[in-house]
Amino acid sequence: MSGQRRNLPDDLEDLLHRGFRYALSLTHDKSRAEGLLQDGCERLLKAGSDWHAGYLFKTIRNRWIDLGRREGLLGWESLDKPGDASIIYSENFLARDAESVVADRDEMKRLLGRLEPGEREMLYLFAVEEWTAREIAALTETSRNTVLSRIHRTRAKLRSHIHAMNRRAIG
């Protein structure tokens, strides 16, 4: 058995599913997520890297940015907004931000589709992968405070979409 085979995790299928979901958070399109995942796996193989979620996510993310730049269609908007630096956020702040809302899975898909790729990405890493803000900041090459403020803003945006949707349903 080669060195590379030893690098493969026992739960490779689970890692592939996680890679797919992360790619889906960027693309919001299943076929494109499969394409990104496959590209990411090819690059890991070529580089002989370890098969960890962090490496896989990074290769998927780099590939996604390359594609966006090449096509000139998908911008990667700046994460920082004026005023961010003056507010210090914390994970505890986000925990207090937890308000119950009503939505089903189809509605969530529709609502997530209205977010920017970078917004979905951070929500996914924070809510599903349960990465810390510092870990997300390392992957996305930004500051921890920017990550936290971005998650806070994105959640507020999503919640307002849900409230508007529920109001329409009631009305």
Binding site: M1, S2, G3, Q4, R5, N7, L8, L12, E13, L16, H17, F20, R21, L24, S25, T27, H28, D29, K30, S31, R32, A33, E34, G35, L36, L37, Q38, C41, E42, L45, K46, G48, L67, R70, E71, G72, L73, L74, A98, E99, S100, V101, V102, A103, D104, R105, E107, M108, K109, R110, L112, G113, R114, L123, Y124, F126, A127, V128, L158, I162
Partner: protein, 207 residues
């Protein structure tokens, strides 16, 4: 509908998402095979894995521009062709996207709803009266590109159970040059026209 914390909604949604079983199986098998060969195996060959659906739609749209000459051999054109190369190139894109029949990003939405939901667009989608007598049923829409320009592909079901696709993108100078052109590309009849400032393309399988 469940009432719960937003994080739980997000978790529920993403944890329910998986790649197709065939894709997962083929990818896993390919990785294990290639990893077993070690680095001396040369260029990795995961490209041979059949995907349930091809590469990212945007990449695929651009890749069409590199279609081989072999494809052009089977290309039969008709109608007037003021700029044949551009028309044929766009027809190839349209035909390829039509045949992929990828799932719409926004299924079941009406055009007003799509205008609200597809917020990456810098133009308004429009209802065309061109096929008012065809009783086509809109099944959804997805982002696409034509000649590198952001576009939308509408998917319609026909009364006979077939399907056809309509593309809309802002009518730029070059695109208006092929207004009114009709071509047959890769077995599909393609119509181009401009309407209210939009360039439109329509494709359906010849019957």
């Amino acid at each position: 509908m469940k009432k719960q914390d937003l994080h739980n909604h997000i978790r529920d949604y993403y944890l329910a998402q998986r790649p197709s079983p065939r894709f997962t199986h083929d990818l896993k098998t390919g990785i294990e095979k290639e990893a077993g060969r070690g680095r001396s195996g040369g260029r990795q060959r995961l490209r041979q894995i059949p995907r349930s659906v091809p590469v990212a739609a945007l990449v695929a749209c651009s890749a069409i521009l590199t279609l081989s000459l072999a494809w052009w051999h089977g290309f039969l054109s008709g109608g007037r062709q003021p700029t044949p190369t551009l028309a044929q190139s766009i027809a190839a894109e349209v035909a390829m996207n039509h045949r992929k029949h990828l799932a719409p990003d926004y299924p079941g939405a009406s055009i007003p709803e799509l205008n609200r939901l597809m917020d990456k667009l810098d133009f308004k989608l429009q209802v065309t009266g061109r096929f008012a007598d065809r009783a086509l049923q809109l099944s959804g829409a997805r982002y696409c590109s034509i000649q590198g320009q952001l576009a939308v592909q509408f998917q319609f079901r026909t009364p006979s159970g077939g399907w056809c696709t309509l593309y809309q993108t802002p009518a730029s100078g070059r695109l208006t040059n092929i207004d009114g052109t009709q071509l047959t590309a890769n077995g599909l009849r393609i119509h181009f026209w401009t309407e209210n400032g939009l360039f439109m393309a329509f494709a359906e399988t010849n019957t």
